[in-house]
């Protein structure tokens, strides 16, 4: 495999070429993000101010107006969704990575992968059928449930992949100390895989924070802010969707501003969760 001279030079240059290509891949991703964010910002900049954060929505034609209620709604829904999805997803991830007997793990992994491919609107229809219709009302709770279903497979599969990559020697070392299996998982494997798990969670949070389709059938939206978990609730993506497709320039601008805000919120959550999880790890 190792040769000197011309062969080595060729290998060196081909290596360099491939590495440059991979750098271009990364650059392309960032470029796309910059293009999209730039466009969003360009269209929404006139609405990015304090009122937008602290005022409730106003009807079209009235100056000002913000997204306060929808920002709160998005936070509540993301927390609700995460509260349901994190235990399920993480524990399922542990099962898949640490305990899964081939057939059981395959079944669960399959279910998770298929669930990840279900269009979000179908998840909304499902949540509508099992929660909204029986309860006779749209509700924040049903929306949290729908978002959780979208979140679970992403959390479970990324947690599994991350935990699997914790070297076996680490597990064996822990077990050799005589601690029970479950404590080895909780105390050694999960912390070892924590950054990967957090990445998965953040991807899932980002996804559900921006999800519109399932909310149409569950959260419905609210003109009066948060009224209780069993009542309709507004959310940023819902408002973005409706405003973006409306005829009015004013509302379209608000939709772009809200989209930018949503990205910033997700970025904020991402940073906070990462900082905390990194500090805990030490």
């Amino acid at each position: 495999m190792i040769t000197q001279g011309a062969g080595y030079l060729r290998r060196k240059w081909s290596s360099r070429a491939m590495l440059i290509l991979s750098g271009l891949g990364a650059g392309l991703c960032i470029l796309i993000l910059a293009l999209i964010l730039g466009y969003i910002l360009f269209n929404g900049i006139s609405y990015l101010n304090m009122d937008f954060l602290t005022q409730p929505a106003k009807p079209v034609g009235e100056a000002g107006g913000g997204m306060r209620d929808d920002i709160i709604g998005t936070f509540i829904l993301v927390i609700l969704g995460s509260a349901i999805a994190l235990p399920v997803g993480l524990m399922a991830g542990v099962f898949l990575a640490e305990y899964g007997k081939p057939w059981a793990a395959s079944a669960v992994r399959f279910a998770a992968d298929i669930l990840a491919g279900v269009p979000s609107i179908v998840v909304g229809v499902f949540a509508y059928a099992v929660l909204v219709r029986p309860m006779g009302s749209y509700s924040a709770l049903s929306a949290g449930f729908a978002l959780a279903i979208i979140m679970i497979p992403v959390v479970a599969r990324t947690a599994e992949e991350s935990m699997r990559l914790v070297p076996n020697s680490v597990r064996e070392a822990a077990l050799a100390l005589g601690i029970p299996r479950w404590r080895a998982v909780v105390g050694v494997v999960i912390p070892g895989a924590l950054t990967g798990i957090v990445t998965g969670i953040m991807l899932a949070v980002a996804r559900i924070a921006g999800e519109t389709a399932p909310l149409i059938f569950t959260a419905l939206g609210s003109a009066f802010g948060y009224q209780g978990l069993d009542q309709p609730i507004g959310a940023l993506p819902l408002q973005i969707y409706r405003y973006a497709l409306s005829p009015y320039d004013d509302w379209q601008k608000q939709a772009w501003a809200a989209a930018f805000l949503l990205v910033i919120i997700v970025l904020g959550i991402n940073i906070v969760v990462r900082l905390v999880s990194r500090r805990r790890r030490r």
Partner: protein, 326 residues
Amino acid sequence: MQNSKTMQAPSHKRGNSGTSGARRLGDRIFFNATLIFALLIVAILIGLLIVLNMDAMPAINKFGLAFLTDSSWDPVKEVFGALPAIYGTLLSSIIGLVIAVPVSLGAAIFLAELAPRWLSRPGSFLIEMLAAIPSVIIGLWGLFVMVPVIRNPVESWLGSTLGFLPLFQGPPFGVGFLAAGVILAIMIIPIITAVSREVMEAVPDTQREAMLALGATRWEMIQKAVLPYCRSGLTGAIILGLGRALGETMAVTMVIGNSYAITESLFSPGVTIASKIASEFSEASGDVYIGSLVELALVLFVITLLVNIIARLLVWRMTTVKAVIG
């Protein structure tokens, strides 16, 4: 390959020290807890299938298997078939993957292996941010910014240079399979990149050092030591991305042109299952019409299932071949 890593289930019978009773109880509780949560995923999926199946019944009864091979979609006369939607779903997802996989893997390699820490952290952050932009916003951006670029220069150039291929014929509307594939690629790049980067970073440094010590170049080290080590993780990343592509609605609907037809040209407008459901579900009326839209969702389930099986077989083949060769 990875199964060798999972330790035996906690039914191991070796613990016979004094504390083993309590220890085994703790282990059993923990194991059962993970099992219950894991099975919950299966339960949700089954529940979903049952609910969808009930709603789809009127269409299933009316059309039977012909639903899969019919190309018409006429809400007025209530004649529905899924074929163009199946075709469009597969085609747009394939285009999306063909673009997204190399870009994502390249980006992941760069972030995990090459970039210094001060660059790789914010870089990963930014790429994950792409996942947070709502679908409708990406769709509108696609419609107003990306589609004009695709129409001219991309499609007109492809048409004039590769126009002899049926893939690149027909009027360059801008909207169509190609635009849908590109938008899907943009939407799945963050998920594939993030997960791939994560699994690459988890590869122990000893692997890399061993390879470099043998005199390998950086790329050879990545190619021979890093990528094989995390193949299952990379497959998982791609499958997650594919799942997102198959199920994506609003962004695709904005740029695919929504024509219920099967054409081989990538320039022509088409439709996907998810976009069809999202477009028409909220205004649909009548049991057969709604049932047909729900049956489309069931078809998408089956497609996802098949794609998953194929992907798994491919990985399994590759890993066993590798193992045999050596």
